[in-house]
């Protein structure tokens, strides 16, 4: 990095780093649009869901429930359970955003997806709390949001011409980007252990409804990582990046 960091440069970096995630979620958005109108949502409703809820897997599950004619209240409660993992994302990112003015936080909360969380967390973990970190976050959000709206629209338009959108298997695309991020994150044995334990628990808990298995697996992975830290004596090694003794924000402002 030779260039001086500015809000503009951070925003652009956030956009650039998130583009591969867009490629991964592109088919997912199109399939959502198609599934939603086939399930009985109005085109306006399908697009509104992407505009105002902006949570891919919850939207997918909701569309499936609409097709089964369950009550709106049940769908809202299901959405809550499916999206619980986002509280973990918020807690993970919050220490890096302490210097950010309060007025920016609702927008960041609203646009916090799996993809943006992963990209932003990686940046913050490697570089500490950046003075313009919120702009990196919002750059990432902007391309995810725009991509999701356009893909939803494309899916709605194509909707009735795609008879069985799920049979194409293109929802697999997101798996590839997520795999890439796992590879880039596993840099020590405790992280490797967290990944393995989370994966095994996810397999065992796969039959649980509403992505509860995912939540359970994530928590198991975190516990395994913490155990791994002391097991492999990684806590005695000075980590590159953030040292939380002084707090990430303090470092960022040095």
């Amino acid at each position: 990095m030779t260039a001086v960091s500015t809000p503009r440069s951070e925003f652009l970096a956030g956009m650039r780093d998130t583009i591969p995630m867009d490629v991964g979620s592109l088919p997912f958005g199109i399939i959502f649009g198609a599934v939603a109108v086939n399930a009985g949502l109005s085109p306006f409703g399908a697009q509104s869901m992407s505009l105002f809820v902006f949570a891919g897997s919850a939207q997918f599950i909701a569309a499936g429930l609409v097709a089964q004619n369950v009550s709106a209240l049940f769908i809202v409660v299901t959405t809550f359970v499916v999206n619980l993992r986002h509280a973990l994302y918020s807690a993970t990112l919050a220490p890096y955003l302490r210097h950010v003015k309060a007025r920016w936080l609702p927008l960041m909360g609203f646009t916090l997806t799996d993809e943006t969380f992963v990209i932003v967390f990686k940046r913050f973990e490697e570089r500490g709390a950046l003075p313009y970190g919120q702009w990196y976050f919002l750059g990432s959000s902007a391309v995810m949001y725009a991509n999701w709206q356009l893909c939803t629209l494309a899916g709605i338009v194509a909707g009735r011409t795609i008879p069985n959108p799920l049979d194409w298997g293109l929802d697999f695309a997101a798996t590839v980007t997520f795999t890439g991020m796992i590879v880039s994150m596993v840099r020590n044995r405790s992280t490797g252990l967290a990944v393995i334990v989370a994966g095994v628990v996810a397999l065992i808990a796969n039959p649980l409804p509403n992505r509860l298995g995912l939540m359970l697996a994530a928590l198991a992975g975190v516990v395994a990582g913490v155990i791994g830290t002391s097991l492999f004596r990684e806590d005695q090694v000075e980590r590159l990046g953030v040292s939380s003794d002084v707090g990430p924000v303090a470092r960022g402002q040095q």
Partner: protein, 114 residues
């Protein structure tokens, strides 16, 4: 069903999960132990999303050759990421491998007796 009510409710509960923690946790001094533990959230969640997709396609263990296509494409993607460190290259190769394997599968049918 009232569509507007459903979407409004979904938007509200989703926002209420994402935003308050971001706002409140930023106000307190997070204990170092918690901060260190939360580093494992991202890799754990990603593993929890990816591993069932590739090892339990359609929620069943891999039994036939077509079931193994996501696994093969994912392993290839992991290899590309490891060597290239480029997420974009990883995505392109992974998706291309998936599409090509699916298209080419009928060609291998006779070889594997399927």
């Amino acid at each position: 069903m009232n569509e507007a009510l459903m979407i409004g409710g979904m938007a509200l509960v989703t926002f209420l999960i994402r935003y308050p923690v971001l706002a409140l946790v930023g106000k307190i001094d997070m204990p170092k132990r918690i901060f260190d533990a939360l580093r494992y959230v991202a890799p754990s969640v990603l593993a929890a999303i990816v591993i069932p997709v590739v090892l339990l396609p359609n929620n069943k263990p891999i039994q036939q050759l077509p079931d193994a296509i996501p696994l093969v494409a994912t392993l290839l993607a992991a290899l590309v990421m490891w060597r290239s460190k480029s997420l974009l290259a990883t995505v392109i190769v992974g998706i291309a491998a998936f599409v090509i394997l699916r298209a080419a599968l009928p060609l291998f049918g006779p070889v594997f007796g399927q």
